[in-house]
């Protein structure tokens, strides 16, 4: 194996020296730690300290998801059923895709406000081209043309952002309006095209045979195992420590159990005794494949690493020789391309496309990404986070829908959740840049009390948590994470209380 500089070969510019295995063994103890050492307990501890450090990832969203599921299960007898579970997945699919699309640009600290209308206008192109009453092209060709128009839109945005230097907010706001006009012209005023192609309708409305769901789970496990093993082999070959293998088994176990529960639930008959409906909706594997490819690119290839680097510090990336313009440009193209797929999912689900199709979706997409833990400031977040965030938003929509609340409530709650998530994002960012690694000093009393209190009374948690945050900002001390959590939990409780109160009032009125 090759190394650059060891104490034995101190001269830079000399070709990489070759070390034999004994030399590796001799220098091993000399390596700086990598946080991979130790058993499962150490790893768990390291994970906890990362959480405390503000790297919470999708955890708040997952917690929120569970809370919402429990809450709605109490509030509506229809919520916790196999049929609604399948509904939830298909309702969420298009938002998951849109959230993932937006993640590519949000990671750069950019935004694409036109992603929703991109989905709309390209689906307008699609239906006009594929409609039997229209051009009646083969649906695949029609879709490829729609996709190409989407990529063209992304190229357009990328050009104006990267080459001309207009903030993406402005370019895409312009497109948000302009493309709505284009969509209206393509569809015609008051026009509405039904999706008639069975293959397109099947994406959201048909299911895989039950056995295929299980095969899918096995494939997921196999891929996860294989990538872990490749990583481990490479690390071993380089002579750096691997995480304990138990951790890999735990992860595979969690995937296996969760996957099995989902697939089992989806193999139950959720139709009628006469017309059985079973199996995983076809949209699920398509989404998973795109999620996997996107994650692979972001985590394991130069493109992904450079995207994160630009999101973290554009100047650093530029000085490292990264072609910032190109990377950013491609991100906009990817975003628009995935937005087209999100549009296809939505069209398949709704069954028709009209002039307003996709118009209101983009903010939900942004909310999905942010709620899931993708930072609006760029550089932090994963596709998986956007997917989880989309599930949270969809659960809110789905659950409130079952409660027969006016649709205004849904918008209010979603908006509140977005602002809450963005606040957590902003607060943890301040923490990441200002605070030192291990804040010292006494634990802030307000933080502890506020955290405990937040479970009992929302207001107490918010007030004490906020006091603690400001005290720690002024005077230092530990407990900032607890304080933020106290505020967050308090706000979540308030929101839940609000929903329950509104529900109760509406129920009382009849």
């Amino acid at each position: 194996m090759s190394v650059t500089h060891t104490p034995e070969t101190p001269e830079p510019g000399t070709p990489a020296a070759t070390l034999d295995t004994t030399a590796i063994a001799a220098t091993d103890s000399d390596l700086i730690g990598s946080g991979q050492e130790g058993g499962i307990v150490d790893q768990a501890r390291a994970y906890l300290s990362r959480l405390r450090g503000g790297e919470m990832g999708a955890l708040p969203a997952i917690a929120g998801f569970i809370v919402l599921v429990v809450l709605f299960s109490f509030l509506s007898p229809f919520f916790f059923t196999e049929r609604n579970f399948a509904n939830l997945l298909t309702q969420a699919a298009s938002l998951v895709m849109l959230g993932m699309a937006l993640t590519f640009v949000i990671l750069l600290g950019e935004i694409d406000l036109s992603a929703g209308v991109t989905a709309g206008v390209t689906m307008a192109v699609f239906v006009v081209l594929s409609d039997p009453g229209g051009a009646h092209l083969n649906w695949i060709i029609a879709f490829l043309i729609a996709l190409a128009s989407g990529l063209a839109i992304g190229t357009f945005i990328g050009f104006f952002r990267s080459r001309i230097g207009i903030p993406s907010f402005v370019v895409t706001l312009g497109l948000f309006l302009g493309l709505q006009g284009a969509q209206l012209i393509i569809i015609g005023p008051g026009g509405l095209y039904r999706i008639q192609e069975p293959a397109v309708l099947a994406i959201q409305n048909n299911n895989m045979p039950v056995w295929m769901g299980w095969v899918m789970l096995l494939i997921i496990l196999a891929i996860s195992f294989a990538t872990s093993m490749v990583d481990r082999t490479r690390r071993t070959r380089a002579g750096v420590p691997n995480r304990t293998i138990a951790l890999m088994w735990v992860r595979l176990g969690v995937i296996a159990v969760l996957g099995a529960v989902v697939i089992f639930a989806l193999s139950q008959n959720r139709g009628t005794a006469f017309l059985a409906v079973t199996g995983v909706p076809i949209v699920v594997p398509i989404t998973l494949v795109i999620l996997w490819i996107g994650t692979f690119v972001l985590d394991r290839t130069k493109y992904g690493r450079w995207l994160y680097a630009i999101g973290g510090n554009e100047e650093a990336a530029r000085r490292a020789g990264i072609k910032v313009i190109g990377i950013r440009w491609i991100a906009f193209v990817v975003c628009s391309g995935l937005a087209v797929i999100s549009g296809l999912f939505a069209a398949s689900q709704v069954g028709s496309v009209d002039a307003a199709f996709g118009r209101n979706d983009v903010l939900n997409g942004v909310a999905a990404a942010v709620v899931g833990g993708v930072s609006l400031f760029g550089g932090r977040g994963r596709l998986m986070h956007a997917a989880v965030g989309a599930l949270v938003i969809s659960v809110i929509t789905n659950g409130l829908g079952l409660l027969n609340l006016p649709s205004g409530v849904n918008l209010l709650v979603t908006g509140g959740v977005l602002i809450l998530a963005a606040s957590v994002d902003a607060l943890s960012r301040v923490r990441g840049t200002k605070a030192v690694e291990h804040p010292t000093g006494p634990f802030n009393v307000f933080a502890i009390v506020g955290f405990v209190l937040s479970f009992v009374t929302a207001i107490g948690g918010i007030v004490l948590g906020a006091i603690a945050v400001f005290q720690i900002r002024e005077h230092g001390g530990r407990g900032r994470g607890l304080a933020i959590w106290a505020v967050a939990i308090g706000i979540i409780e308030l929101l839940i209380a609000l929903v329950i109160a509104v529900t109760a009032v509406l129920r009382a009125q009849g």
Partner: protein, 256 residues
């Protein structure tokens, strides 16, 4: 480094000029830096130090003058030209991505891949070994996010990054300006270690204590002219202050 190469400067600037419109900022400057040696570039605010460095980095080419690198005349028109020769600049605003870890930052833009995917093990090992070769002891884990590092540790990562790139000339623009006593000491040690590895180091600093501690040679810029190039061992602080303030001048090239 081989003894013989110590006689020959790795880089030599001859009669370099640079102006912005009517203002001439560098009025025929000469500078030499030797492999394995630390050359301090000092001078008052506005003397032209940064302008001189930007020319070497290829960020802002000189108007006139000759650049001789390793005995050969070269042109430095883009950062890529400089990079290709092994010239690395560690800027004062360190240019690290906070959201990435130490390994990722050190390899940014030159990641090791196999079958298009990262060979994280290899990068981690090389990063670790590079830091060790510089006797870095304060970094606990190379997988720490840079956002969690102190100023001195960040400086360390930025410098180690240039070592990893096999730089032959490393230019540090005020590397200790924002650091406390202990961290300054760490970084100065690192600079020495860098020179010991055979790298030619140019360090810009306003802090003469640092300069006298770390530098082998001191070059003084005064209003766009190189007024002194002296060996640290053969000069005093008062003399250098004199050169910087323009109170004293030295015959050209006396120490070179």
């Amino acid at each position: 480094m081989a003894e013989s190469s110590e006689l020959r400067p790795l880089i030599e600037l001859v009669d370099v000029k640079k102006g912005f419109g009517p203002v001439s900022v560098l009025k025929g400057v000469a500078l030499k830096a030797y492999p394995g040696k630390v050359t301090a570039l000092v001078g008052d605010n506005g003397a032209g130090k940064s302008t001189l460095i930007k020319g070497l980095a290829g960020v802002q080419p000189y108007d006139e003058g000759q650049i001789i690198f390793d005995g050969e005349p070269v042109t430095l028109h883009t950062p890529r030209d400089a990079s290709a020769l092994g010239i690395e600049v560690v800027y004062q605003d360190l240019a690290l991505a906070d959201n990435l870890d130490i390994v990722q930052n050190m390899f940014l833009g030159r990641e090791e891949t196999e079958l298009l995917t990262f060979d994280e093990g290899r990068m981690e090992r090389e990063a670790s070994e590079t830091l060790r070769s510089l006797s870095v002891r304060t970094v606990k884990s190379v997988r720490q996010k840079v956002s969690s590092l102190s100023g001195g540790q960040r400086q360390t990562v930025a410098i180690a990054r240039s070592v990893l790139k096999k730089a032959r000339l490393v230019i540090l623009d005020e590397p200790t300006a924002a650091l406390g006593v202990a961290q300054t000491e760490q970084v100065l040690n690192l600079v020495r270690r860098l020179a010991e590895q055979g790298v030619a180091v140019i360090i810009i600093s306003h802090n003469l204590a640092d300069v006298f501690e770390v530098a082998d040679y001191i070059s003084v810029l005064y209003l766009g002219q190189m007024v002194a190039e002296v060996e640290t061992a053969k000069t005093t602080r008062d003399d250098v202050v004199g050169y910087i303030t323009g109170a004293k001048t030295q015959a050209r090239g006396a120490a070179a």
